[in-house]
């Protein structure tokens, strides 16, 4: 897959030049971790790395420990706690978000690897006037949850599933949504919700 170049997000370089005060920028620039960095300026262990993310159409600049997962960056650093931590090992799907439009597991992605990317979380789905995304509305209409813990991940995954073209039949939906576990077993209602919303979801 070709990785699109950073688009809407400010590039780190532009951001450094334009936004951060000189005193703050100097140490941050030294933390740049590119291969062309001269030997004298090699990145060091535990040195925070500045990461630009565009989340729900808003730009963020974070100074992160390299070990921070995208999930923890969203929840703990930005305060977007709609994305849930279930297993934290890529087995449950609760942490699903869209990165550059594709559904991924934010628990298995280091935040620094998402520099310059566009992230959509459950908080970014509804319209500014509060109108729910068709997939959110469909989950309510079909009672697609009980406890609700897996629901943000289910909804993000359902949108990805539709946009990938894999919601053609109930069997397809079951197969291509299998990475999202629901311990309340709301599966039949989830399938019904995806069927309802698939026509209105494409490209959303």
């Amino acid at each position: 897959m070709s990785q699109p170049p950073p688009n809407n997000a400010l590039s780190r370089r532009k951001f450094m030049a334009g936004t951060v005060s000189a005193a703050a920028a100097a140490p941050l620039l030294a933390s740049r971790a590119k291969a062309e960095t001269p030997i004298g300026a090699q990145p060091k262990l535990r040195q925070p790395v500045v990461t630009s993310l565009r989340i729900n159409k808003q730009a963020y600049e974070l100074s992160l420990d390299t070990r921070t997962s995208l999930l923890d960056a969203l929840r703990d650093h930005i305060g977007l706690t709609g994305t849930k931590k279930g297993c934290d090992h890529g087995q449950c799907g609760a942490c699903t978000v869209l990165v550059d439009g594709k559904r991924v597991l934010s628990c298995l992605s280091f935040a620094v690897m998402n520099d310059g990317k566009e992230v959509t979380t459950i908080e970014g789905l509804s319209s500014p006037d509060g109108k729910l995304h068709p997939m959110q509305q469909a989950f309510i209409d079909h009672d697609g949850f009980q406890c609700g813990y897996c629901t943000p991940g289910q909804i993000m995954s359902a949108i990805g599933c539709v946009n990938e073209g894999h919601a053609g039949s109930e069997d397809d939906i079951r197969e291509y949504m299998s990475g999202n576990i629901c311990r309340c077993a709301a599966y039949p209602n989830i399938v019904a919700a995806v069927l309802q919303a698939r026509g209105e979801t494409r490209g959303a």
């Binding site: 070709s2 062309e36 799907g93 597991l105 280091f110």
Partner: protein
């Protein structure tokens, strides 16, 4: 998790140069201080568990060489760039037409999210899911050489019946690799000692006395492409995967099959087995048993018996021998009946 320095090399040569600066030629790639990352679905998980402990990660996603991201179909076959994601290859029209066994193996692996993240090269290098390997408080010869193997006397229902040794019975859990070994794929790699091609069958190493040596790769070597030769009759091929639940689970037994038929009889058969062996497993004995034969239930069963002749069960995994044979028989008959 151990702290690590994060770097984003922008050329293969730069990535190799950094890796060779921070590793030695004797380092195993999975145990080296500097390690490559692409999708991260396997490595990030094992870093969280303390199984993998690199202190430097080289992110390959910014490499400028565009062929790393391309699937190219030519007269000679198909060439997958190493950074192509599993989902892209699974949905590729010509992959589905020309090599159904490849598309099946990818579609039936992992989940939609993981297939969007995981690169093809990373997928073939995924490490075992052996519970005693994953949990660092157990003895494991693969994780800590010479420490012993807790799986031998432990709960070994998931473990291998083919290719095991007294040191290790951990299963290779990948699916795509079974399709690749069946089709005689070739790996292209680049390292500080130059570029080379590795027959896919030589990429993974059986555990023997050194289960910590998992592949033939050096620590500073990067897989750049996976090439599958043109095999016109591979249109008659499929991957059958049997598991505890219908989707998003590793195989208990699987079979990759491709058949060159002349009427009812077999000119050539390709068979690889998953979920039952320590490495991607080509079953040449099974292939030979079918050559020139009419393919029916009896000859398919004879081939399955031949494929599992060397199987060695442990306490909890003996069922895999029968299940593996039945899986192969069904895969052979379904492949025979494909409309191509």
């Amino acid at each position: 998790m151990r702290p690590f320095v994060y770097e984003q090399p922008t050329a293969i040569s730069a990535a190799v140069a950094i890796a060779s600066r921070f590793t030695t030629h004797d380092d195993q790639p999975t145990r080296a201080n500097a390690q490559f990352i692409a999708g991260g679905t396997n490595l990030a998980d094992y870093m969280k568990l303390g199984v993998a402990e690199p202190n430097r990660l080289l992110d390959l996603n910014q490499l400028k060489e565009q062929e790393l991201r391309q699937i190219r179909v030519t007269e000679d076959g198909i060439r997958f760039g190493a950074l192509v994601r599993m989902g892209e290859a699974a949905d590729h029209r010509e992959v589905k037409q020309r090599y159904p066994v490849i598309a099946d193996s990818l579609r039936l692996a992992a989940s939609g999210q993981i297939r969007n993240m995981a690169s093809l090269a990373g997928n073939v290098l995924q490490r075992t899911r052996c519970e005693y390997f994953r949990e660092t408080s157990w003895h494991c010869n693969k994780r800590v050489p010479g420490s012993g193997c807790a799986a031998m006397e432990g709960f070994n229902r998931q473990h291998a019946v083919l290719g095991a040794s007294d040191a290790c019975i951990a299963t290779y859990h990948g699916d795509f690799a079974q399709a690749l070994i069946a089709l005689d794929a070739v790996i292209h790699a680049e390292g500080s000692r130059g570029a080379r091609k590795i027959p896919f069958a030589k990429l993974h190493r059986q555990p023997g006395d050194t289960p910590h040596i998992e592949t033939d790769l050096a620590a500073d070597e990067i897989i750049t492409a996976i090439e599958v030769p043109a095999i016109p009759w591979a249109r008659r091929s499929l991957y059958l995967k049997i598991r505890d639940r219908e989707s998003y689970a590793f195989a208990l037994a699987s079979a990759a099959v491709a058949l060159d038929l002349e009427g009812d009889s077999v000119r050539e058969a390709r068979i690889a087995l998953g979920g039952v062996a320590t490495v991607p497993w080509r079953a040449k004995e099974g292939e030979e048993a079918l050559r020139g034969k009419r393919l029916d239930e009896a000859s398919a069963s004879a081939a399955a018996d031949a494929a599992f002749a060397g199987a060695e069960p442990r306490r909890h995994n003996a069922f895999k021998i029968d299940l593996g044979k039945r899986t192969l028989v069904r895969a052979l008959l379904e492949t025979r009946d494909m409309k191509v």
